[in-house]
Amino acid sequence: MAFHLTADESAMLRGESGAAVAFAMEILSAFARAVGAPSLLPITRAHIDGCLYHGQASLDFVERMVAGGGRVRVPTTLNVGAVDLIHPELVRLTEAERASARRLMTAHEELGCHPSFTCAPYQTRFRPAFGEQIAWGESNAIVFANSVIGARTNRYGDFIDLCCAIAGRAPAWGLHLDGNRHGQVLFRLAGFGRSRPPTDALFVAVGLLIGSLAGERVPVIDGLPPPRTEDQLKALGAAAATSGSVALFHAVGITPEAPTLDTAFGGRMPAGSIEIRPADIARALGQLSTVPDGSPITAVCLGTPHFSRDEWARFLPMLRAMTPGRSVPIYVNTGRATLQALEAEGALKGVDEFNLRIVTDTCTYLTPILERMDGTVMTNSGKWAHYAPGNLGVKVAFGELEDCIASAAAGHVVRVTA
């Protein structure tokens, strides 16, 4: 397919808007040709996952943009920064490299990126609206933006997300285009009692299942109960992007592009469907925990992806009512903007009597933050439970939020939810 630039874009590529824009356009054009996009399209926002240090090349790239007078053309947020990510053994950092990793974060700010350092930019004032064309990195943010909000992005990452921000353009392909957003595979929940409340674990398990079975297809979920808040859809999407590479899902009657089953599939019904039954949910959840109930725990980790205002509003009263004491630390990852708002409201008053550790700008599954890495950690996050054993070497117990707090109080894995 021939690749075409507008007159403006050709001028940008020739350097008429500066060296950084020309560099960004050169890379975007090559990327667009490789994915078969016929042209570029304007975007309104970007979210950059480039603050993770993969070596000198990451920093040299951003420095080239800074030296070329680069400035992001659209409101741009930054994902969590961590000096060293999922494979710590791959990036053996010296002190000089550590300094480079820090420079990576400040260089992005010099390009005009907002230092949000959150994996949940959709919880900030930079949240896109339905139908907006955006270029986002970070798997959970991508699936949330596409599915829950109905904004449009492909899975962007290293180098390309920043090129999109600096050019204000993205290749016109994939999920940016209406015709590629319809469902392709149907998952039907069957055999669930009507009166059962929509637990967090149900959403996590459905996410894990569709992620592992959908492959490259857009999954549609039929029969999902209405979520308590959008955080349950956040958990579902994060799990689906963890066990697989889901960038968009539809939940019939719940997400904006799926008012009906027919709409979700764009009028073309699927050949068949995959049933999700209570036993499948139980099996998926069972595989998340690597220890039996009753095992002693050394920590609780919440907020992967970052804890929202609604989650804090549910968690804090629960904490005060269940008074877990100080023996087991409870780590909560959250965005710095969310924390500032909580502090301004005085919502955290009195939490000093608990062993609460609030973590911002990064995440407890990425970097060695936990005081003890030798024991079992309890979490309500499917994403945390999936990655932490490999990244950190810890054992994991998965449970509902209430179970996590009760286990912190007991010092071992207990379940207070049915």
């Binding site: 050169e26 090559a30 070596g55 080239r64 290293d158």
Partner: protein, 140 residues
């Protein structure tokens, strides 16, 4: 024998082929210090990509592979060139970034890869866009 190919990253290269039966993700798959394949689940584990023409069905996995390819080229542990059966945007970006930042070329061509075996001598001529050529000299 010569094959015509689609060109995605510019450069000329002449080296021995390393043919992988499965796509390799550079992120989590290559040790940038040595150029060895370290992905435990990959059949090519332990093989050396540095200085070879890497031939594989396609790219795979995390977009962080762009940065890892660029970093391996910077360190001199990356491949001399890449031949894929289908285009891969992630590796293309990594090669273009390495060329822009360091002037190191890693030509990327896309063409049928049947008949190329590890140890064959491969010459790539890749203009960056349009059509390039792959010349194959069989090892035996």
């Amino acid at each position: 024998m010569t094959r015509t190919a689609q060109s995605f990253a510019e450069g000329d290269a002449d080296a021995l082929a390393l043919v992988l039966s499965h796509p390799l993700s550079f992120w989590g798959g290559i040790d940038v210090e040595t150029g060895r394949i370290i992905d435990r689940s990959h059949p090519g584990r332990g093989q050396q990509v540095a200085g070879r023409i890497l031939v594989m069905p396609g790219g795979r996995g995390s977009s962080s592979s762009s940065a890892v390819l660029a970093e391996s080229l910077r360190r001199g542990t990356g491949p001399a060139g890449v031949v894929l059966a289908v285009p891969d945007p992630i590796l293309t970006v990594g090669a273009i970034v390495a060329q822009s930042l360091y002037g190191i070329r890693c030509p990327i061509l896309v063409c049928p890869i049947e008949g190329i075996r590890t140890g064959d001598r491969v010459h790539l001529s890749s203009p960056g866009t349009g059509t390039g050529h792959l010349e194959l000299t069989l090892a035996f």
